[in-house]
């Protein structure tokens, strides 16, 4: 019996230690940078979802061999020119909300930005 209590005790300490050090995590923000980057690769946006504070400028970079057009779902809020390989596009998100976007010429490519 004492052995089990001892093991349980150790386990409790381990869990507590882990909880203290891990902190709270919501949807992953992109690194610790205040200028997050989204890479377009293999016909997908990576990361597919990011969470940023209002006022953040997000930058997309196209690493594919084909062009992509970063476009908000409503086709109004933002729309890049056709980005060739290594081209960039940036947009500053000023208002909180969830902003879905896609590639206007490969519309199966979808992603979103959550602004808090």
């Amino acid at each position: 019996m004492p052995k089990i209590k001892w093991i349980l005790g150790l386990a409790a300490i381990a869990v507590a230690a882990f909880a203290l050090t891990s902190g709270t995590r919501a949807i992953p923000a992109v690194g610790a940078s205040d200028k997050p980057e989204i890479k377009i690769d293999n016909f997908s946006f990576g990361p597919a979802t990011i969470t940023v504070p209002a006022g953040t400028t997000v930058t997309w970079t196209n690493n594919d061999d084909v062009p992509h057009v970063v476009t908000s779902d409503d086709n109004k809020m933002f729309k890049s020119k056709a980005l060739d390989t290594d081209d960039h596009f940036s947009f500053t998100f000023t208002k909180p909300g969830t902003y879905k976007y896609y590639c206007a010429i490969h519309p199966k490519m979808t992603a979103k930005i959550v602004v808090q």
Binding site: N42, F43, D64, D65, A82, T85, I105, P107
Partner: protein, 322 residues
């Protein structure tokens, strides 16, 4: 609806339905397809030949035309550093045919980035084809700027809306459709209500015995939706063509040969003259597929289409560039 493929080849090279499906995966063997009343028959074609004994089987064609597709002028990455050169090879191949085609159909992605210089180069090269007129429909790469203004300025004369139109040629009715604009997030290709209404009106007074040939960039059947290879509202378009005895649909976009027969409608996609793309689901994305340099020309190609009046038959010959 079952797909009909009847093997009447003497060499028994496996072009029954299963063999045909395996064939499609290679993308590049020349195969002669002949359509008789909606039923697809196939005959093997000597590798790389365009002329000769197999063409003799198509003797008596009232006219022929060539489909080329996906020239992507401006693309310069590893999959093909010189797409202008391979387009030129395609033109040379067209010019080597026994008889010149009545016209060319380009099923889109003429350019890579809708740049004027890219369109200029494409038109310059295609001018060298001994082929009468060239008809175009845009691919998504051709309408990247100014709502497709660059494309429409050059190729939009006598077209409606975003560039759709029809014409008659020796008893057959050709319809060029545009399914690459106003694409919605998460969707496939799109024809849109205006174009569908135009199509309905366009064919209203045609006799059902008129052979109809539809050409558009993105496939008008669902080849592989995960990669966007399909058109959301194509069923409505095909509904307007249901009463016709012979409908052929010629598409590009996927850079490989695929075929399907459904009742009186036969669908065919063409090789690109620029670079191949992977077969559905065989890669993580539909991007340009690299092949060894000495193999490139064998996976690029053009399609010759022969029309024989009266039988409503269309014979399709996919011809690789090597």
């Amino acid at each position: 609806m079952a797909d009909f493929i009847r093997d009447n080849s003497k060499n028994k090279d496996g072009v029954d339905r299963r063999g045909f499906l395996q064939c499609m995966a290679w993308a590049g063997t020349g195969v002669l397809y002949s359509l008789h009343g909606g039923i697809l028959k196939s005959l093997p074609l000597a590798q790389g030949a365009m002329g000769g004994t197999d063409m003799a089987k198509m003797k008596g064609a009232d006219f022929s035309f060539i489909q080329i597709s996906d020239s992507h002028i401006g693309f310069n990455k590893e999959a093909n550093p010189d797409v202008t050169a391979t387009l030129q090879i395609a033109v040379d191949r067209i010019n080597s045919a026994e008889a010149p085609p009545d016209f060319l159909l380009h099923t889109g992605d003429i350019s890579q980035l809708s740049k004027p210089s890219e369109f200029d180069t494409a038109q310059e090269v295609l001018k060298g084809a001994k082929a009468g007129k060239i008809f175009y429909v845009p691919g998504e790469h051709d309408v990247l700027t100014d709502d497709g203004k660059q494309y429409l300025d050059r190729f939009g004369k006598d077209t409606k809306g975003k560039g759709w139109y029809s014409f008659d040629h020796k008893g057959a009715h050709f319809i060029g459709l545009v399914n690459v604009v106003d694409l919605k997030a998460g969707g496939l290709g799109s024809l849109g209500a205006d174009q569908l209404k135009w199509l309905e009106d366009d064919v209203r007074n045609l006799k059902s015995s008129t052979p109809v040939i539809v050409f558009a960039h993105i496939p008008l059947w669902t080849v592989y939706p995960e990669w966007g290879w399909g058109t959301d509202d194509s069923q409505q378009a095909l509904g307007h063509l249901k009463r016709f005895g012979s409908v052929s649909v010629l598409n590009g976009h996927i850079h490989q040969i695929m075929q399907k027969v459904e009742g009186n409608v036969s669908f065919h996609t063409a090789l690109s003259t620029a670079f191949p793309q992977p077969a559905p689901g065989t890669a993580s994305s539909p991007g340009p597929m690299k092949v060894p340099a000495d193999k490139l020309r064998s996976v690029l190609g053009i399609t010759q289409v022969n029309y024989v009046q009266g039988n409503h038959s269309l014979a399709l010959v996919d011809s690789p560039l090597a």
